[in-house]
Symmetry: C2
Subunit: 198 residues, 2 copies
């Protein structure tokens, strides 16, 4: 039905998450019919990014320079180090505002079934960073899944002799959320994490 | 928050239809973290397609060769010519099966407000094709919108002296649809297009 090249393009577009055959077809037609300039520039930028973007030497987030912007920023607070599962988590925390410390990106969580162990997560580098820079507090911001909790526990055990404070982000009812519609796991967390008012 | 190159990639991905900042970010991270090979191949194929895919000389669908597959196929029925608004319509008709004639793609519909006139739709070429190849019937399969109807009317007027039969696809209640949930315009079409049973 398609020309061979068009067919290849529709297939290639399906590497994008959430894009199936139908939306890939719509994307291909849109680019070729209405926005070739945009398509050309996307192809260039993507080739460029795939070739040049690597991991920041210090925090392991995605960056095309040896040090990412946040690590290169001398104004960030060296006393705080926040450990997250993915670069997207940094974006979310930075957009929320209120945190000005350092980060470390695991690129995943411990998952023996998938062959993801301490090495894949760069935990030796994390331990070395902690020993070398001596932050006052390490905040473990892995997700509240079984694997995320296990990862947080493993890390806290790994660095416990090198840092005074190790904390875990709070899990509970989201702001604006209603107790009635929150899942059981979240309610358990919310109750366990309760704080005394007076 | 992002490195400059990553930021450019997230912006570039938003040329894709239906992709906003949030999904563009997810796509960029996915490609860079989990599927660089797929990203590289998408970049290459996209650059290739944008550079090489043009319009079929005969039917104006998207193709990287002078003649598209369907036009080059000698087995298609030359007696039927179906006029559609976009290459995606050809895909839909071919997937449905049951039609084996020729096509002509307008790449739009008459829309004076948007500056789309007979020239943009290649109507001179359509008229020349009809005169030259003498199909027995031209099927106007533009969409049942005001502009699609106007386009069908304009074309039928343009070619009326050169072809014996000019038809319009039927518009009515979709197969499997229920009258109760169908919009008024469709019901009007369904009533006007009623066929005698006996």
């Amino acid at each position: 039905m398609f020309s061979p090249l068009l067919e290849r393009l529709v297939r290639s577009l399906q590497v994008l998450p959430g894009v199936g055959p139908k939306s890939a077809q719509r994307m291909a037609f849109h680019l070729l019919q209405k926005n070739r300039e945009g398509g050309r520039s996307l192809a260039e930028t993507l080739a460029d990014a795939v070739a040049k973007v690597g991991l920041c030497q210090s925090c392991r987030t995605l960056a095309e320079t040896a040090l990412c912007r946040l690590c290169a920023n001398a104004k960030r607070d060296d006393r705080l180090l926040c450990v997250v599962e993915s670069p997207a988590d940094i974006v979310a925390i930075e957009q929320a505002g209120g945190y000005s410390g350092r980060y470390f990106v695991l690129h995943g969580r411990l998952s023996p079934i998938d062959g993801i162990g301490p090495e894949e997560l760069g935990l030796a580098q994390l331990a070395a960073n902690v020993r070398e820079r001596q932050p006052e507090e390490v905040i473990l911001a892995t997700n509240p899944t079984v694997e995320g909790e296990a990862t947080a526990f493993y890390i806290s055990d790994l660095i416990k002799d090198d840092v005074g404070n190790i904390s875990r982000i709070a899990h509970g009812v989201p702001v604006g959320g209603e107790l009635e519609y929150v899942d059981g796991g979240t309610i358990v967390h919310a109750l366990q994490g309760r704080r005394r008012l007076r």
